[in-house]
Symmetry: C2
Subunit: 519 residues, 2 copies
Amino acid sequence: MSDEIMNGAESLVRTLLSNGVEVCFTNPGTSEMHFVAALDHIAGMRSILALHENVATGAADGYYRMTGKPASTLLHLGPGLANGLSNLHNAKKAGSGVVNIVGEHASTHIELDAPLTSDIEGIARPVSHWVHTSKSVATVGEDAARAVQAAMTAPGQIATLMLPSDTAWNEGGVAAPAAAPPAPALFNEDLLEDAANSLTGPDALLLLGGMALTEENLTIAGRIAAQTGCALLSEWSNARQERGAGRVFVNRVPYPIDVALKVLEPFKRIVLVGARAPIGFFAYPDKPAILTRDGADILTLAPAGSDLDAAMVALCDATGSTQTPPAHITEPAQRERPTGPINLESLATLISRAIPENAIIVDESVTSGRAFAPATKAAAPHTWLNNCGGSIGYAMPAAVGAAVACPDRKVMCLTGDGSAMYSNQALWTMARENLDITVLIFANRSYQILRGELTNVGVQNAGPRAMDMLTLDRPTLDWVQMSRSMGVTAHSVSTCEDLEAALEEGLSSGKANLIEIVL
Amino acid sequence: MSDEIMNGAESLVRTLLSNGVEVCFTNPGTSEMHFVAALDHIAGMRSILALHENVATGAADGYYRMTGKPASTLLHLGPGLANGLSNLHNAKKAGSGVVNIVGEHASTHIELDAPLTSDIEGIARPVSHWVHTSKSVATVGEDAARAVQAAMTAPGQIATLMLPSDTAWNEGGVAAPAAAPPAPALFNEDLLEDAANSLTGPDALLLLGGMALTEENLTIAGRIAAQTGCALLSEWSNARQERGAGRVFVNRVPYPIDVALKVLEPFKRIVLVGARAPIGFFAYPDKPAILTRDGADILTLAPAGSDLDAAMVALCDATGSTQTPPAHITEPAQRERPTGPINLESLATLISRAIPENAIIVDESVTSGRAFAPATKAAAPHTWLNNCGGSIGYAMPAAVGAAVACPDRKVMCLTGDGSAMYSNQALWTMARENLDITVLIFANRSYQILRGELTNVGVQNAGPRAMDMLTLDRPTLDWVQMSRSMGVTAHSVSTCEDLEAALEEGLSSGKANLIEIVL
C-alpha cells in the first residue's frame, strides 16, 4: 500500500503509530470495520480484543500507568463508549492518558436516528478532557495527532475522538507526523521558599501523589524527612507507587474518616506535591469532609500535571537535604509463615511473603485489603496500583493493561468478589493473551464495605431487606467455575497452607491463574 | 414511623409507591444507604439486587414492556449510572419508561471533587428524556412524582433523578400524592382520510410499530389488510409483539440492507402507525440508507407516543374494515421433529416446537436468530421482545425484568454468546430471584454478524489480525461452567435430540436454567 493513497482509517492508524501509540484494546462493531481492516494490513499495532468495553478502557488505564504512554481503545458508537465509561472515570482520576477511538455513523446517517444513534460527544464529555468528531477524511490524521497530544498532557488525559464511518472509508487520508509530547507545567516556584520553611518538625507533613511516588522521588522525600523531621504520607489512592524492601516507605492517608482525622490531626503545615488536600471519600452526616485540622496551613507546591520531579529536586535543595541519607528506608523483613484457616492478618502476611521481585500489584481489595499496605511494606520491591476513581471493576482490566505493558514482570491482582464480578470478562482476555497474572479473589460474599457504611451514614438496626442488598451469598459465586469458563486455571482455598501452595504454583506458572480465597 | 416525620429517602420511596412504582432493580453504594434503609422499613417495594448496573437498567426495560409500568433503578453516583447506560439507551429506543434514582454526593461534598465525583447530569442526559437533581429534602417527594410522570409519558420515557445524600438523610421529606399518568397525544386525525384512501391494493403498506402490535391492534390490522389488500409489516426491532397460532402474523422489515430494499420495493404508499419510515441499521458505502423506493408516499398517521389504539380503531373504521374477518391469521402448524446435529433450520424448528403457551421470548440472537421469526409464526401464542437500541447485552437483563413482571409466564431468552457475555451477571439475579427463565446461548464462538459486516462495508480479503478481532474461540467460552458459577443449572448440547430434552427439562423446571447450543 502506498502512503499517498489511503483511507481515513488508515491515516488514523499510521498517525497513532508514528506518535507512539502501539496498542489498541478493542471491541469493534460494524462502524469500526475499516479501522479493523487497517489494523490488519498496517503492521505495528497490537490489537487486543475485550469482551466488554470496560475491560478495554481499564486495560488502557493500567497500560498507561506502567508505560507513561497512552494506548488506544476502539469502541463501537455511543453504547460501546458508554460501556467503557466507568473505567474511563477511574483512568481520568488516576491521571492516565488514553486515546479513545469511537466509531460514529456516517455523517449522512446520523440525522436518520438509527437504533444505535446517540449523542456520543455528550456521553464522552463527562469522562474526557478532549472530545472531537472528525469532520472529513482529510483531517482524520491531524485529529488523531491532536488526540495523542491531549492524552499525553501531564499527568495524562482522556482524549476521545469520534470517527464517522464515511471519514474512515473515504480515500484522501493524510497521516500526521510524529510530534513531541507537551512539556508539563512548572510547579509553583514562588511557593518554594515557604514550603521549605514550613517543613520543620513532626507537625509538618509532606503529602505526595501521582508521579511524586516514583522510586527517585521517594528517595528525595526520605531525605527531606530525615533533614527536616517532617512526616510523609501519600494520598489514599495512588495511580502508582514504588514500594518494598530498600525503598522509602510512605503510608497512605487512611480511608475511614475517623482514622484519617486522627492521623492528620497533628499536622499544622502541609506541603502538597502531586497530591490534593485530603478530603473524605464520601460525606457522612455530622462528620467533617475536610480531613485536615482547622487552620492547617496547606501549600500546593506542585499540583497534579505540573513537573513533580523538578518540584521534588527543588524542595530537596531548598531544605538542604541533598546530602542527607533518606529516612524511612524499609529493611527487608520476612514475616513468619502463618498456618491454619485464613484470616485477614494471615492473608496479608501470605501476600507479603509471596510478592515476587519487581511484581506489579493491582489492588482493589476494598475491605479485605486495608491491612495489606503496612503488611507488605517490607516485601520484595514492587509497584502498587490503586483504584483512583472509586468505581469498582477496575482491577482485573487494569491488570490486563499492566501485563501487556510489562511482559517481563509478574502481575498480582487483588480484588474483592463484588468488584471482580463487575468486569469478570477480563479473565478471558488474560487467557487469550497469555498474560502472566495471578488473580486473588477475596470472597467475603458481600459488599462488606457497605455494611460498615450503612452504620456510618447513621442507619441503625438495618433489617433483612437492607442487608439482602449487601450480600452476595444467595447463590454463592463459584469463582473456580467462573474462571475456568473463560479459560483461566483456578483454585479455591480456605487455609494458609493451600493459599501458599496456590500462590507458588500460580506465580511460577507464567500464565493467567486465579485463586479464590474464601473468607 | 409517622407519615409526618420522614427523611428525603423515605419521602422518595413513599412517593414512588403511591405512584405505582413497585420494583427497584439496584446496585447501591454508600451514597444510597438511606434509600436502602427506607426500602427496608417501608413495605411494598420489591428490591432486586444486580451485580452490574446494566443488569438493573435492562431489567427495568423488560419489566416496562410487560407491565406498561416503570420500575425504579437505584444506582451509585455517576459511574453506577454510566455502567447502566447502554441498556438505558436500548430502553429509550424501545419506548420503555424507567425511573432512575441516582445517588449523588451531599451538596457540600460535590465541590471537593472526591474520587467518585462526576458530572452525573451530563452522563444521564444522552439517555434520558428527563433529568433533575433534587435541590432540598422538601422537594424530593414532588421531584419523584414528576420523574414518574415523565417515565409514564407515552410511549414511555427515561427519567433520571439525582438524589444528593444530604437530601436523602435530612428530615423534612414530604411524600407526593398519586397522580394519574399523562394521556398520550392524539394521532394525526387530519391525515386519516388520506391514509385510508392510500391503503388500496398490494402496492400499499401498513407499517406498524410499538403498541400497534398488541393482539387487538394486530387483529385490526388483519381486518384492514383483508378489506384493502394492503400489505402489513412491522419494524425490524419491536419492543413487544404478540405472535403465534391464532394471531395475525406481521413480518418484520428485514435487517440486511439488500433484502430490506427488495421487500420494500413494491410499496408506493406507506402508512405508519407507531413506526418510523424504514432506514438501514448502519450506513454502507454505495448503498442507500433509506429503504423505501424513491418517491414512495409515506404518511405518519400515528407517531410513537401518540394514541395508537385510537389510530388503529379510526383507520379500521375509515377503511370500512370493522366487520371484515382479519387476513393473515396463523393456523396452528406443528413442524416436523428434526434430528441429528443442530443447524440453524433445525434450531428454529426446535424452538418453535418448544415455545410454551403464553411464553415471553426475549430475543437477541443477532445472527443465528434471523430464521426464528418465520419459523415460530405458528408456535403456541407468545410475546416476542426485540433489542430496539442495538447495544448488545440486553437479553438476559430484559429477561430478568420480564420474569419479575410476569411470574406466571415462562420466559425464553435467546441470545448469541457474544451478546450474553456482555451482561453475564444477569444469571446470578435469575438464580437469586428464582425466576422461570430458560436461557438459550447460541455459541457460534464469534461475532458472526461482523464477519458479514466486514464484507458489507467493502473490506475484501480480511487477514488474520482482523479476523482475530471477530472470533471468540481462543479460549472457548464454557457456558455451562459460567452459568453454574452463578447458581444457574446448565447443559451444553449439539444434537437436536439433546436440545429437545434440555428444553423440555428446562422449561418444565420452573426455575432459571441455561442451554448452551454449540453451532
